[in-house]
Amino acid sequence: MRAIMPHLPALQVVVPLIGALLSALLRRGTTAWALALLVSWTMPLIAASLLLQVLTSGPTSYHLGGWAPPWGIEYRVDLLNAFILLLVSGVAAVMMPFARRSVAAEVDQDKQSWFYSMYLLCLAGLLGITVTGDAFNIFVFLEISSLSTYVLIALGRDRRALVAAYQYLIMGTIGATFYVIGIGLLYLVTGSLNILDIAERLGPAAAQSSRPILAALAFLTVGISLKLALFPLHVWLPNAYAYAPSFATAFLAATATKVAIYVLLRLFFSVFGIAISFEHLPVSEVMLALSVAAMFIASLLAIFEQNVKRMLAYSSLGQIGYITLGISLANEAGLTGGIVHLFNHAVMKAALFLVLGAIVFRIGSVKLADLAGIGRRMPLTMAAFVIAGLAIIGAPGTAGFISKWYLAVGAFQKGWWPLVFLILASSMLAVVYIGRVVEVAWFREPSGLAEKAKDPPLSMLLPVLVLAIATIYFGFDTQASAGIASQAAHALLAGIK
């Protein structure tokens, strides 16, 4: 046990990678699922012990291939990393038992092993982005996760899934290429690719920032914003989420955009530092405007959407708006709110999309009209929907309330009090779109497709309920989520560690 402790950062990426390769090699659906389950359950253990290690003895660094940074690739884990690692691997682990029946119902028999292989590859990519301390390595992992994501989306049975995957491929590649351009400019200026080293070299001199540095910041911001679907760079997201297999949607909604936001945080605060990011360019104001626009426009679109899966995708866009709002505030409370919301939103969106996965499993449709009265037939599942829905709204006693509270405090501290009203007002929009589904599902007589539905089998029900309970748990016990988030925010604002 002691022998592998120092190698945990590498194992965090290598284990899912090997899992992906083995499941592609074996080509059997059930074996691949078992492998994916095994890997998904190992990952949180690794992430948790990394987090403990960071909490007790500070950031750890791992030199890949024994080459010391800044020449070699360094895997560097600090508090923020470790937190995101735990989030991604934890959500994946909870969701994994759900996958078997859901994937068996939604993906062709001979493609199931590919599905799990791509899922594990995507997991490896996402964890890789989070764990690595090398800017170019982030690009490689970004593309690993993106390419596997395109395949995951295209595996949906609906032919529109193909178009959605293609559109995401175009947008995602443009985003990743913008990112490489940005990193290239930084490399030309600093001669380094190690994030810490770049930050040190940019250092004080960057305060009189030269044009390439500002251009790099612009390219990187736009590139990553495409990946995290910041309004108005979001057009790929609703269709991709709506037509992908349900499990893939839930996994991507909970993790992929969150990891992109992590990269943005890393760039703004660790690489460039507040001085360049927020003082020399109006990044804060632009982000603020786009975030508020996302909160309102996406929520309005969600209200008029008839496909519930798409509705939740629009809701995701709005919620991403809250997270970027926290980033644009750039003070401790606001940033804490952003990071906590990143965590909370992952948990509650995973719960909501899994509920839809269960509905698809039972009735094969996610049209709002088909859900009439389904609450009486699938009571436990829809109860989870109500709980997670309340969390999206931000009702007190749920996780969503905690993050919105921090955001509001951050806005007050900054003196932008109208923002508090905007946060409240956009939450009201969430009441409308969540309420619409709840009304149809619970207060109408079951008819048509919903007539014969019943709660899904335990392997699907349990992940849903665990996530729903987690949204309440993190509404009361904020030590784990908000506590670590505020420490991470503090560290980010302090600049280079």
């Binding site: 290598v14 990678l17 090997i18 390769l21 890949l64 024994g66």
Partner: protein, 138 residues
Amino acid sequence: MKLDLILRIGTKLLLPFILLFALYVQFHGDFGPGGGFQAGVITAGMVILYALIFGVKAAKRIAPQGLVERMVPLGVLIYAGTGIAGLWLGSNYLDYSRLARDAPYGHELGIFAVELGVLITVAGTMTAIFYAFVDRGR
């Protein structure tokens, strides 16, 4: 049938040399230009040439689709496994220093294994892509 006699005989004569050249590129990669990528593409080129002249069916007899599709993950597995071997011997992931009695030999051995993995994956991928597109129209 008669018209493409030259093509058939010529191809049959060429095939071993293409493979030999691929192996040369692969193993001479230490000292000159070359390596797994190029060798893999040349190997796949051999299979594709064979398929063009003798038909996909015949090509699938010498390089079955199942094998080709499994070569893709297998090569990466060899690559990742080389990294794990370093881990096993007590150094960092992908550190080849301890694979042999001293660091330079270890590195040579490590790169050799890695390049072998690259050869397998690239050859597999190229052939698999070819098969995938050829199988479409029918």
